[in-house]
Amino acid sequence: MGIFTKFRKKSPWILHYNTGGCNGCDIEILAALAPKYDIERFGMLNRGNPKQSDILLVTGPVTKRCRDVLRRLYLEMPEPKVVVAMGACAYGGGIFRDFYHVENGVDNIIPVDVWIPGCAPRVEAVIDGMVEAVKIWEKKSKEKEYMRNHSEELLEQLGARNDD
């Protein structure tokens, strides 16, 4: 908790990643950036760059192709960082649950802090989720976080893939 910690809530920068959803959530995010809701008035910017972002906003069930990219994006973000999973698919896969190509939700790959319910969530729900995320983000420290369960899982999966 330094002197600059209280300025965190003034400028959360968002990294948005779609892991194979139907684009409904993404259009709601675009609506949040557009004149009617304009989340830039809270200082939020949609940076397409993990190294300069603070909040990872994930939509969609995680398909097997997206899994490694999602994990890498999470690891490339410097601490403190928060993960927000948006929509029904991100929570357990939604209508894609138990399909052959799906990892059944974001929580199986990276730790999630805030869930935004809905299919697709309205923009008000997105802003509400962002406020929750910023509250959690203010309490996090900037020390390096290590992924515990998830990195072991990664090693197992990589080993399994090499055997094939």
């Binding site: 300025f7 400028s11 004149p35 830039e40 190294k51 410097p78 601490e79 403190p80 900037k142």
Partner: protein
Amino acid sequence: MKFETLMLLLTLFAPIIGGFVYGVERIVKARMQSRVGPPLMQPFYDFFKLMDKRPLMVHSLHAVMGIMYFIACWFSLLVLFLGNDLLVAVFFHVIAVLALTIGAFSVRSPYSVIGAMRELMHMISYEPLMVLMVVGFYQVVGSFNLKDILNYDGIPLLQLPVVFMAFVLAIPMMLHKSPFDVAEAHQEIIGGPEIEYSGPFYEAVYTGKWIEYVYVFFFVFLFGGSHYWLGALLVLFVFLFVNALDNATARLDFRKMVKFSWFVLIPVSAFNIIFLALWR
């Protein structure tokens, strides 16, 4: 003595002034898109937030070059403000941009390397114009010294109208504004040279940009000569014009940028200077 003190203070507070300019710019941009926009202090909030991130670097040369960009930008502003040669200040600015480019070339990210190449294209486009503009000032005032330009009785704008127009059209190239923002290209090569910087190191690059705002708009101010109110009006006009242009136009290819600079802006401003030299 009084002049030097004022200029030294201006140089010291240049990042703060540039930050406010950037904040105003973000509000103006939002209003042009019928949005409310962020608060005026938003760039400083971003600054403080970036201080609080974990430092993460690709390798040390890359990080050093980011900080070097900031320092060299500030130093070029110091050289400009302390009443030295205008040409020397222009060349120090080249060093600043080169530091950014070397840093961007030194990492393996393709977006960064593409951004660095495009940044060099930007430099090819606007640097000759800067030098021509300084030569134009020499034609009018008879000196490269800043003090002589600020004490000049006439109005340089009336003798260098075409050079002024060319410089206004070159400002989008220097500040990476929309018709000529291939180096930054946020939707295409997410930020170009600055993509691999993060946390405190990105902060240096971010603040270096604010200093560039002060640097560029001070050259606009010089076109008023000793009539400071005219210079201030010119700065206001150019600021609004560049923002309107930024919001109203789409991104052009880098070839079009270089062609526009070398086949239109540079010959036209060279004609202005040649005409002035013959006429005197």
